[in-house]
Symmetry: C2
Subunit: 353 residues, 2 copies
Amino acid sequence: MYLPNQMQKLTLKSIAKEIGVSISTVSKALKDSPEISDDTRQKIKAFAKLYNYKPNNIALSLKNRKTKTIGVIIPDIVHYFFTTVISGIEEVANLKGYNVIVGLSNESFQKEVINMEMLANGSIDGFILSVSKETQLLKDYHHLEETINQGMPIVMFDRTINEIVCDKVIVDDTEGAKNAVLKLLDLGCKNIAIITTEDHVNVGKLRTKGYKMALESRNIFKSNHHILHLEEKLYDPIFIKELEVVISDFLKINPSIDGIFAVNEVYALSAIKAAKKLQKEVPEDLKVIGFTDGILSKYATPSLSTMSQHGKILGMKAAELLIQRLESLDVDLPYQTVIIETELIERETTENI
Amino acid sequence: MYLPNQMQKLTLKSIAKEIGVSISTVSKALKDSPEISDDTRQKIKAFAKLYNYKPNNIALSLKNRKTKTIGVIIPDIVHYFFTTVISGIEEVANLKGYNVIVGLSNESFQKEVINMEMLANGSIDGFILSVSKETQLLKDYHHLEETINQGMPIVMFDRTINEIVCDKVIVDDTEGAKNAVLKLLDLGCKNIAIITTEDHVNVGKLRTKGYKMALESRNIFKSNHHILHLEEKLYDPIFIKELEVVISDFLKINPSIDGIFAVNEVYALSAIKAAKKLQKEVPEDLKVIGFTDGILSKYATPSLSTMSQHGKILGMKAAELLIQRLESLDVDLPYQTVIIETELIERETTENI
DNA sequence: ATAGGCAACGAAAACGTTTTCGTGTTGATA
DNA sequence: TATCAACACGAAAACGTTTTCGTTGCCTAT
């Protein structure tokens, strides 16, 4: 009787020794190769099942030169949008037998590079990533280029880079912003402001562009654009007070504002809070639309109308693109850029009273 | 001149062939072995650097029988607490040269098992996990036992299981809840309710226990306990309306309630919303404390006082425990259970006006 | 009787490392 | 001149698979 050492994983070799056959025979028997007689096959399979043999993934990876795992690099995981994207990635990855390994850049170029290098040397088959803000700022993309040159496919999402040719999945920020502002106009708002980021943040820039397009399409020109650019750091919860002050000041200077489009939930909620303190009622005196249909929008009081980015669908699409490329035999598979449509989720902040 | 095929990763073998030495020599040269002459070492290192040689992680893993990666299994990633835990894990993992591979159970026993089996066969060195609700309900822990029996260490966090002996990192739910309720008492609340989950959810049960302990320590006995147990599903944003209705009904039946302790942010915010509609002002007529210092607490209006679980610290501690065990030579390292202290974060919902 | 064929299995290479243990060459020493 | 280190390097095993290509032994057809 075989006494398995519970501390030692079963291998083909140990099974072979136990049954008294060669490693090859065990391997073939377990894969139902016709080369092996029914008799020995039964014996081997029974033994393997009894002691719960599972092939070693690392050995398989080395042999097959593929790991069946996807590397995901994101700037921040404590962030609703990114987590929904991950959940989408994970869902289709799992469905197709892939694992997901997560690296966080914390918005740092350095960490992004380190993390990618750590994973690029055989640990994964391909990347899904959204670059850090610092990378966008520095415009240094050598790590991305090198990775691609080494034959490792990348799918970029949300914060993509034009200079890099690869598959991309993006949110239609400009169109989404435009639609949000058009909605405010349709609701009767006459003086619509945008609360946005600095321009080097791509999504901020694109959403600002959409804002302008919407207004200009209704013949509201520059003199009546109200744009508040906020410093990076104000997004951080530790500056919540400062954020409110800045927005409050902005609203005081522009008392005619009756509609706000904010490029994220945080700006939107702070705007609402600031407005209340200035005795402006939402939505009666001021209508607000945010971006990202996260937890804040749903549970805020009043609940926030917002543009959903469908992060989960985005993640699913990104994973599909990557896996399709990984499993395609066609080396020249053309690169795609998939656009995920935004959708206006109407809640209390745009109710017409 | 060597013309590297950019599609092909550099290996020791290809370097060896190019320089005209053996594989062993290359390996030794790169590791600065004294066996190798300065001359050839220089040559090899220069070549390796020029073409950016990086050893293949998979081959290393196979050889060393360790992967330097940690498997993290959580029930849900679109959840503030879990993401902060991950960020903590990731931080110390990275510091110590480990990668993090994430599996989601989606609160499903089945997915939890599958995911763990997928990773347990060589892909990772150890697990950090929080079990799914279904696992808690079924009380089937065979996958955990088997994993441990195979010599793979596990660190459980938050939702731990007494029957399983392993390292654990937990939040002091009972104590935290007790302190929250004591705070409400100190603020002068006379009729304090708890909004909690069904009892099979461990954290809900423990926090309810803390609620009772606090009241009883001030001689407020059962007849004056107001406990609202909510169905699982009401936590989901799609049932936000129903949630509010249930809480609203509860408040109507118990009009004397002047303090609420909610076991999560969602219940707390819904309670505030319900109260407002019943013309109760927060914090004037009703004081509220939640659990989890997430994004909702910070940006709510009024901002929510809450018990912080310090998820990031918890994650860091869990990673430290695991890595310590992985790198310890002592097989009999005693198992630890680390308790992360909660902390009351006071905001507007407990202000004394 | 013998060639041919098939059934059932094993040996060995390969994936990319690390490391132990040779082995050949040099220079110095007795 | 013979011996012996020290030096510089290579061969090979090992990690756990898969797969190709033998190699047996036996049966059948000529």
